[in-house]
């Protein structure tokens, strides 16, 4: 049930939020077109030491005419802005994410070769690589936002640990775990909502809370993928028989790897969306909470 709620509400909530944030987002005007918006976003990711180069790219774009030429220039600059150092502490987080992804991919590839999963297995591996590449790109953008890296990565570890605590830490637990209704609510609603709300309260900013939730979702997804892939490597086709795998060794392994991939996508989406909603709600409540008045420096009665 919680899955259905999340999947039904997600697209509507995203559309409403984007439209409310900026109704002109979907419209091109003479001074505000897609290349300019893309480049502004990319430039906002640059470190303060590189801000001048961001202005240089924007200035150059302002002198280019023709939508196609502008878009090609903006795409190139956006790519450059994403890789331009220095990143400071964010680099550590990104290298950790790259390491986790590389480990998952290597084990996945090893399983594909060892169990001779065939063309389908290689296609699945390529899809996983593309998706993980997207995750890393998203994480690299989020990690460079000030004050997001630490709470976002901690949120990802927290979500992973809660999930593992409920399922159990052994390889067999990863394959056989079927959550009860209350565990489902904890995984799907409580934990993501706690991450989003905590992110908002941490920075006292709902936008930061939403970014924390997104980074937590990406990092939790990558961590869970690694753990699940390691579990399949340990278990192979052992453990309980998997009817969906067709009863063969390769089929069972393939099925388990496929389940991990689905968990990656669904888990990420749920944490990001529920966390995002909780961050927005926490921000709304923060705004409504009256701030206590500052105490008077002197007693007005005595002044009279």
């Amino acid at each position: 049930m919680p899955f259905f709620i999340v999947f039904l509400v997600t697209p509507i909530a995203v559309a409403v939020a984007l439209y409310r944030r900026n109704p002109r987002r979907f419209l091109d005007g003479p001074t505000e077109d897609a290349p300019l918006r893309l480049l502004r976003w990319a430039v906002s990711l640059l470190s303060p030491q590189r801000a001048e180069w961001g202005h240089a790219m924007l200035g150059e774009l302002g002198h280019l005419d023709g939508r196609r030429r502008r878009m090609r220039f903006a795409l190139g600059c956006a790519g450059a802005a994403l890789i331009l150092p220095p990143w400071g502490r964010a680099a550590v987080g990104l290298w950790a994410a790259i390491g986790i992804t590389a480990a998952s991919f290597t084990i996945y590839a090893g399983l594909t070769v060892h169990y001779q999963l065939g063309v389908g297995g290689w296609i699945s591996l390529a899809v996983v690589l593309i998706i993980c590449g997207g995750y890393l790109l998203g994480a690299s953008a989020l990690l460079r936002r000030p004050g997001i890296a630490l709470p976002g990565l901690l949120g990802g570890v927290f979500a992973t640990m809660v999930g593992l605590s409920m399922a159990g830490f052994t390889a067999l637990d990863q394959v056989t775990f079927i959550p009860s209704p209350w565990q489902q609510w904890v995984r799907v609603i409580a934990v993501p909502a706690a991450i989003g709300a905590a992110g908002t309260l941490w920075r006292r900013d709902p936008a930061a809370g939403r970014r924390v939730a997104r980074l937590a979702a990406l990092s939790a997804g990558l961590l869970q993928l690694l753990y699940g892939t390691v579990a399949v490597a340990i278990l192979g086709s052992g453990g309980p028989p998997d009817a969906a795998g067709g009863g063969t060794v390769g089929g069972t392994v393939n099925e388990r790897l496929g389940n991990n991939f689905l968990d990656l996508l669904v888990g990420t989406l749920i944490i990001a969306m529920v966390g995002w909603a909780a961050a927005a709600l926490a921000g709304y409540l923060l705004r409504r909470t009256p701030t206590p008045a500052a105490p008077l420096a002197t007693d007005p009665v005595q002044e009279v």
């Binding site: 202005h55 150059e60 090609r72 190139g76 890789i83």
Partner: protein, 104 residues
């Protein structure tokens, strides 16, 4: 710690384009077009060159609704670096004449 790696062929092309008329200020897009580089490759090169003190930058004021524009040219150190690169290349070519013929 500053690393002194040999510059990439793309970086050498940018340096040569800048060294062709070292006193002239150049725009980023024009430079990219001249050396057939995409903006995503050109700007990281310009940033590295500026970090190493080989490139100086300036701003051209905006005109009308157009924003200010960044300008680039080689510093004195940049010109010396290009001269040293050219000399090193000439020496290598002299030491390996066959290679030069095969490159031609």
């Amino acid at each position: 710690m500053q690393r002194n790696r040999r510059p990439s062929p793309q970086t050498v092309n940018v340096l040569r384009a800048l060294a062709a008329d070292p006193a002239r200020w150049r725009y980023g897009y024009d430079l990219a077009t001249e050396v057939h580089l995409k903006s995503g490759s050109l700007y990281p090169i310009l940033v590295r060159l500026a970090d190493r003190g080989l490139l100086e930058t300036s701003w051209e004021p905006g005109v009308g609704s157009r924003p200010p524009r960044h300008l680039y040219r080689l510093t004195g150190a940049g010109r010396e670096f290009v001269a040293a690169l050219t000399a090193a290349r000439r020496d290598r070519s002299a030491a390996h004449p066959h290679r030069r013929l095969s490159e031609a």
